[in-house]
């Protein structure tokens, strides 16, 4: 740590905002730098002066009671206000009318959001990510699960159309005691849901086609299996 770097972290150091590693770096620098140590001591003195100065100012003894008196008076006010409102001519009708408008508005929004889009947003997102990752040279994105039926159901809910998971016959060599499977997703980041064993891969070309609005008649994706490690 240089002198300039130390001067820039004096405030965070005194405020206790540095990480343990940064604090050690500060201490290491201070051991051999009189100038920075003097600067730090100077600033620390000023900090403590301000804190000590502010601690001398106590509120007037009766201030809290005055505050609580005001609160007590305020908490009594809404009842009086409410009783007056009931006498406003047409107030209830106005309130009910506003409520009806609000209900209609919320209903319209619910209908609008409840409409099933032609292509589910999640499916479009997968497609976009796939195209992005497929163009890059980086390694694939894998999903691993011990519960293929569960993941299939989840995926169908998200993408909005049925998918056919790999059957036992399509799986690569999976040890009998470990039936967990890994599902590679297009690229780049590896995320593990649970363990690994054999893995199955969704045909990215078919997935793209299935997600393409022009080819929505391809209502199911096909999954093909491949041996673990053959992806590379």
């Amino acid at each position: 740590m240089t002198c300039e770097e130390l001067l820039s972290v004096i405030d965070p150091y005194l405020d206790g905002e540095l990480s343990a590693r940064e604090v050690v770096q500060v201490h290491e620098h201070l051991v051999g730098c009189d100038h920075c140590r003097a600067a730090l001591e100077s600033e620390a003195t000023l900090h403590s002066l301000l804190v000590a100065n502010s601690a001398e100012d106590d509120p007037p003894p009766d201030l809290r009671n005055r505050v609580l008196d005001g609160i007590a008076a305020t908490s009594a006010a809404p009842a009086r206000f409410g009783s007056r409102r009931r006498h406003v001519p047409g107030g209830r009708a106005l309130f009910m009318g506003a409520g009806l408008v609000a209900v209609l508005f919320v209903g319209l929004i619910a209908i609008q959001f409840g409409r099933r889009p032609d292509v589910p947003p999640f499916a479009l997102e997968i497609l976009a990510k796939h195209r992005l990752y497929a163009e890059g040279p980086s390694p694939g994105v894998d999903m691993m699960t011990a519960d293929i039926p569960g993941l299939t159901t989840w995926l169908e809910r998200r993408v909005g159309f049925p998918s056919r998971p790999p059957g036992p016959s399509g799986l690569p060599s999976v040890s009998s005691e470990d039936e967990r499977h890994r599902w590679p997703m297009p690229r780049r980041r590896t995320s593990s849901m649970n363990g690994m064993g054999g893995h199955s891969r969704c045909s990215s070309r078919r997935l793209s086609r299935a997600l393409d609005p022009k080819e929505q008649n391809a209502s199911s994706t096909e999954w093909r299996s491949m041996r673990r490690g053959s992806q590379a």
Partner: protein, 185 residues
């Protein structure tokens, strides 16, 4: 503690705010500069906080929440006073330091030679433009972390650090001017 016409809500509110009450007043005093204004500010803050008390879901968030209300009330009050300038452009421009200026900062030349008087420290604080004063008050008087200050001031943590840095440098200059600084370099 006597609680007039105490309701459950008032008791809960008092219990929650009690431990911050002194810091609220001290912060209000540093912001306004006058005891009577500080008392009014604290009263109005507590009143508004009590009205919105049901919105406070997490007790741990109480200090940030109530100080944010204090700041909001103070700023609203300041806006009603056209004679009071919240911050001038000259003040802001003066507080921007280049890297070179940072290296040549007054760290080297100012070590308080003696205990400054209480009034001098208070005046140095009140000379600060509001944007810097409120950050310095929250840090020194109320002892908030940068993250908590960022929530209260509704700005990024980096902005908090920047305001603190500039406010402290300006305050140091004001104090140094009044204390006939010693050159230790």
């Amino acid at each position: 503690m006597h609680v007039p016409a105490a309701s459950d809500k008032a008791e809960r509110f008092d219990k929650q705010i009690r431990i911050y009450f002194n810091d609220l007043y001290r912060s209000a005093l540093r912001l306004t500069g006058h005891a009577s204004d500080a008392e009014d500010l604290v009263q109005e803050t507590c009143l508004r906080a009590f009205k919105a008390f049901d919105q406070l879901r997490q007790p741990d968030a109480a200090p940030v929440w109530v100080f944010a209300i204090l700041r909001s009330v103070y700023l609203r009050e300041e806006e009603r006073r056209p004679s009071r300038t919240i911050v001038s452009l000259d003040d802001i421009a003066a507080s921007f330091l280049t890297p070179h200026e940072m290296r040549q900062d007054t760290y080297r030349r100012f070590v308080p030679p003696e205990q400054p008087r209480r009034e001098e420290i208070r005046e140095a604080m009140l000379k600060l433009p509001l944007v810097y004063r409120e950050a310095v008050v929250l840090a020194h008087v109320a002892g908030f972390s940068y993250r908590e200050m960022a929530e209260i001031l509704a700005c990024p943590v980096g902005t908090v650090m920047s305001r603190l840095f500039r406010g402290r440098r300006m305050r140091r200059t004001f104090l140094g001017d009044s204390l006939n600084p010693a050159d230790t370099a």
